[in-house]
Symmetry: C2
Subunit: 326 residues, 2 copies
């Protein structure tokens, strides 16, 4: 709707401001509501539209269902929260394969231990799947806006896998790439045991994984700010830096072995987390049982500074990439 981020801030100004029990609302990954006893309720919603956020000639309706729930849980992960419950609403044409769609929703519900407790089903010309989730956190969750100059920046895995997976699916559809064997890829590592980066990229495109455990570890390590890479590393780092009022100086970007550097910088929907933490934060200890995060740079005092290896970081994201280049 003419530039998602512009519209969202315009809408924020139209809505009445919430009371003091709402600690964070529009503009972070999830809203944070105090519910007593130091516990916070996290609330997030995401909408996936067939033909806009997923090309159903390349991926299945079950994958769309999976992705809708996974995207929403990634917002909870990006706050360092625990998974609560989901509401799934489907607006779609009468001939929609609901069993297929809900098979993917159910797969994700099981994989991420997020019960689907309700929702709605209505007729619509377009297939629109909306997921709302609750999460929770004992103590303060990690916002986008708490990074300080001098904090180190980390990512919870290599980047660009989803964009690479989409490119590979397109190449396969055009006969460029031979079909790839299906290989199991572990949820969040430690390291992917498959050894097949192409299968991994395909899997991370069709069935992306919200990094709940990594978000929890980053929060435990003392992360000052966190965001999930949904629009692309460059775009999402810009959000984090703008909210925090810091500059960004990247010196390394870990590229998924199936991806290009452009895909790693601009490709979204990997749901890798990027977080800031002070140099003394016990990041290695907090991540001892899951994949070690990778240090990509640091926060600086000049909010106008946004560089990667000395070059300006590209400002824009990757929204709906398949449409413009597919």
């Amino acid at each position: 709707l003419n530039g998602e981020f512009g519209a969202i801030s315009a809408i924020e100004s139209l809505l009445p401001a919430p009371g003091p029990e709402v600690e964070r609302w529009i503009g972070d990954d999830a809203a944070v509501v105090a519910i007593g006893g130091g516990r916070r309720l996290l609330l997030a919603a995401d909408t996936v539209v067939a033909g806009v956020h997923a090309d159903l000639t390349l991926t299945g309706l079950d994958d769309l269902g999976w992705k809708a729930l996974a995207a929403c849980l990634s917002d909870v992960a990006a706050m360092g929260g625990e998974v609560g419950h989901a509401l799934v609403t489907v607006a779609g044409p009468p001939d929609t394969d609901l069993a297929g769609l809900y098979r993917g929703v159910a797969d994700a519900s099981r994989a991420f231990r997020c019960p689907v407790v309700g929702g709605d089903l209505v007729n619509s010309a377009a297939l629109v799947v909306t997921v709302a989730v609750t999460g929770w956190c004992d103590g303060a969750p990690v916002s986008r806006g708490g990074a300080r100059p001098g904090d180190l920046l980390w990512v919870t895995g290599p980047l660009g896998a989803s964009a690479a997976g989409l490119r590979l699916l397109r190449e396969r559809a055009r006969g460029v790439q031979p079909p790839v064997s299906s290989v199991e890829v572990g949820l969040e590592g430690p390291e992917d045991a498959s050894g097949d980066p192409i299968a991994d990229a395909l899997r991370r495109h069709t069935r992306p994984i919200p990094m709940i455990a990594a978000g929890r570890a980053a929060r435990a390590a003392g992360a000052t700010a966190m965001i999930d890479v949904s629009d692309g590393l460059a775009a999402d780092l810009n959000h984090l830096a703008s909210r925090s009022g810091v500059g960004i100086l990247l010196d390394e970007v870990p590229v998924h072995p199936a991806a290009t550097l452009a895909e790693a910088l601009g490709g979204g929907e990997d749901f890798v987390l990027v977080f800031a933490a002070p140099p003394e934060a016990p990041v290695d200890d907090a991540f001892s049982s899951i994949r070690t995060p990778i240090r990509i740079g640091r926060c600086t005092t000049d909010p106008a500074e946004r560089t990667f290896a000395g070059q300006p970081l590209p400002p824009s994201g990757w929204e709906h990439h398949w449409r413009s280049s597919g």
Copy 2:
């Protein structure tokens, strides 16, 4: 999607069953999740599609925004719950009048004291507005399934106003009815002071009111089962009776002064509440500060019995009435 209620029960069977913290889920007005200390979190979602649930040649985009939030809060009202927070997601064409839509959302947010704390905005060929809300309840909320034989049945206001309002709007659009002056109608009564039933019906169609205070009063009175009239009194009573395993014997249906009996029995989206309570329940006391509910009949032992004044109650609802008769 081919019969909303059939599809929902099919979907319930596809999804993994939630853990014991989820006391009620798909199939009631709202899901109920225990969150400690005797408090329950209520979760509900509703989707409104332009052209299916609202005819934008008759009502405004602001009314659509209002209705989406009101419909969802009515699910909380029907559990006897208190209002929490809302997430609003909009999928729509790029030329959607977002300011108009969110003006209605903001009006409802203020009127019902339900802060909108987040959401999503995406492109879509169809305009689909999804609202998810939280609510809460100290102690057990009122389900659809607790009515017992001998319980009396009550409604929290006269029925058919929304259907009558839609009919009047159509008549006005065809030049049948002269334009009606706008009259303020009080939120939930005591009685509407305006004295103008036509203005009241129009208002209840364009800006329906979730009966939060009435739901709370019914719960306080000891209601054993409750549902909001969203599909029509006959259809929603059938849901309550089926879940409770009781029969229904109606002897009076209060018809809104602008409505017909058919509109009162079959017209939905008034968001009037219907509830069952034992004969000794202190209903008058519980409702002393708001509009007195109206007794419409009682629950019987034979689940096959569904009558109104000795005639079989029409089984079906009113879904998307304007489309089939508009």
